[in-house]
């Protein structure tokens, strides 16, 4: 760990540097491990149907390790800005990391080694962390003022998180204790609740003020945001009911249509806001953002087709690729590459030199390499899922691993630059000496 002095008062909405960055660092590390696990199990990728093994481990290293961990770190710092309420307990915000990170590692290791007995404590730890996070989120939303629409998305995401956690727990109980449940239905419901529900709704909510800030654009219309939330929540609820309570293909197809309408409303609203931005380039992160939106829409189209029962073979695997690495991972990485340097400049003060510029904390080389490699890996995974070709899965996983390494270089580079900025200025004659 690179030591960087930091501090913030207990009442402040600005968390100490170490709080959000410990989550971002863990997400960057899990990102590398996830692609590594996929590479290790690439020969099983084409036939992956949700069973234990390296592909399952890779999936959860992405969902719990990268997506949820980054979402916790980002929302702990960003939601208080939108809600105008400080985090209730900084200690609890730190504690979550100590549950989630070891828990996710243990869970993924157990899954990769086909060892349910190792998975269970890992899942319990991760769920414990998410429970503390849920409490902090609820406390913040309960006292929230400010951006009403972001608050509504926050509550919806919290509800989805509770259901995703419950369904995940049931699935772990099936593996360890042989709990009798419809594995396919619970697995699908868990995916919908975690990916479209918790992560998707949180991403859509935070986008309402984050993306306009990045792009120097006006806020999207709140009415459209509320409309999209209503459609999305109805779709997620209907999908869950149609999977777990009243099995219905028609219900699932309608749920996908509702989700598609929500996604289109969200994307159109965002694009309209971006079109009215100040005359400044959006920056390369928005390429990833737009790819993620395209994958979101494609996943819902394919999901509807699968629900109707007429989709070709391998559609379910392709659906998973579009949803997890396509929509959510691309989106989270795009956001991280903007907020990591921005938040770093927030904590760069206090030295004797002027705070560094955001551009000085944003290494363009590693990010350009990451972008290219991530998109190539995504295209490769889509092709591998569609064709079932193991060699494509291996190539995609290797490319994704390289992309993750480039992203980790970006993260470490930003930390090192921040550390430099926080050091007292040396007399000119001393610079460059060891």
């Amino acid at each position: 760990m690179i030591p960087i002095p930091a501090g913030a008062s207990a009442r402040s909405r600005l968390l100490p540097f170490s709080v959000p960055f410990r989550y971002f660092g863990a997400a960057a590390a899990f990102h590398v491990l996830a692609w590594g696990a996929l590479l290790a199990g690439a020969e099983a990728f084409a036939d992956f149907g949700g069973g234990l093994g390296p592909v399952f481990a890779a999936l959860h290293l992405i969902t719990l390790g990268v997506l949820a961990t980054a979402a916790v770190g980002a929302s702990l710092q960003l939601l208080p800005i939108a809600t105008r309420q400080p985090v209730r307990s900084v200690g609890a915000a730190k504690l979550i990391w100590w549950f989630m990170v070891p828990g996710t590692g243990l869970f993924a290791l157990g899954a990769g080694l086909h060892a349910p007995r190792m998975m269970a404590p890992g899942a319990m730890l991760a769920l414990g962390g998410l429970a503390v996070y849920g409490w902090l989120l609820a406390e913040n939303l309960r006292r929230a003022q400010g951006l009403r629409v972001v608050i509504l998305y926050g509550w919806a995401a919290l509800g989805a998180l509770a259901l995703a956690a419950a369904s995940g727990l049931a699935l772990v109980a099936r593996y360890e204790h042989g709990l009798d449940l419809d594995h396919g239905a619970f697995r699908a419901a868990h995916l919908v609740l975690a990916a479209y529900g918790f992560m998707g709704l949180l991403a859509m909510g935070l986008s309402q003020f984050l993306l306009p800030m990045f792009a120097l654009a006006p806020a999207p219309a709140p009415r459209t945001a509320r409309f999209a939330l209503g459609l999305a929540a109805a779709g997620i609820l209907l999908a869950t009911v149609s999977l777990l309570l009243v099995p219905s293909r028609a219900g699932l197809a309608i749920a996908a249509a509702l989700g598609l309408a929500a996604a289109l409303a969200h994307v159109v609203s965002m694009e309209r806001a971006l079109a009215r931005r100040m005359p400044r380039p959006l920056g390369p992160a928005f390429l990833l953002m737009r790819v993620s939106w395209a994958c979101l829409i494609a996943s819902l189209l394919l999901g509807g087709w699968i629900a109707l029962g007429s989709a070709p073979a391998r559609s379910e695997l392709l659906f998973g690729v579009l949803l997890v690495p396509g929509w959510l991972l691309s989106f989270v990485l795009a956001v991280l590459q903007r907020i990591v340097p921005f938040l770093a400049t927030v904590h760069a003060g206090g030295g004797t030199r002027p705070a560094p510029l955001v551009s000085a904390l944003t290494p363009t080389g590693p990010l350009a390499a990451h972008r290219l490699l991530h998109l190539a890996a995504l295209a490769g995974l889509i092709a591998a899922a569609a064709t079932g070709a193991t060699v494509l899965a291996q190539l995609a996983a290797a490319t994704g691993l390289a992309a993750a390494a480039a992203f980790a270089v970006f993260f470490v580079h930003t930390l090192l630059r921040l550390r430099e900025a926080r050091l007292p200025a040396q007399p000119a004659g001393l610079r460059g000496r060891p």
């Binding site: 008062s9 009442r11 400044r280 206090g350």
Partner: protein, 161 residues
């Protein structure tokens, strides 16, 4: 974000004007055109004029009147951060003003043109980042910290500052 307090609306309008002006300059300089091209020189002049207002009236008011309120409300770290950014912007603004004045007077040496371009881009980035932080922290905090009477007083104080 939308703001209900008059003082916030006023500061927000000034932030918008700053962003509009400096992102236009950023775009003009990205084209690598000559600094003394009429359009670019006029834009630099407008930026210099706007900046003089920004770093005196706007910054002074925030530092003397608003940041103490922020600190009293437990957000002293944010006030300190914004204050440090003001200092960095003032320092760059002084360099910019000197070089821009020379450009305007026709005495800017060829070697100084690169320095003017660099400090202009630095200022654009510092101002954009600073405005983003104030819009996310200072203004929303003020929405909660001040009541209608205090808002009216602050708006009047700013108008006469």
């Amino acid at each position: 974000m939308t703001f209900e307090r008059s003082i916030n609306r006023r500061l927000h309008e000034e932030h918008e004007a700053t962003l509009s002006l400096w992102t236009r300059l950023e775009g003009a300089l990205a084209g690598r055109g000559a600094l003394d091209a009429p359009d670019t020189a006029a834009l630099l002049r407008r930026c210099a004029a706007g900046l003089a207002e920004e770093v005196t009236r706007h910054f002074d008011f925030e530092e003397q009147v608003l940041f103490p309120r922020l600190a009293e409300a437990g957000e002293g770290d944010i006030a300190a951060l914004l204050g440090e950014e003001h200092a960095a912007i003032r320092e760059a603004a002084a360099r910019f003003a000197t070089l821009e004045a020379r450009l305007h007077a026709g005495t800017l040496a060829a070697a100084e043109a690169q320095a003017l371009r660099a400090v202009s881009l630095e200022l654009a980035e510092r101002l954009v980042s600073h405005v983003q932080k104030e819009e996310l922290s200072l203004l929303p905090s003020l929405e909660d910290l001040i009541d209608e009477d205090a808002d009216a007083e602050l708006a009047l104080a700013y108008a006469t500052h």
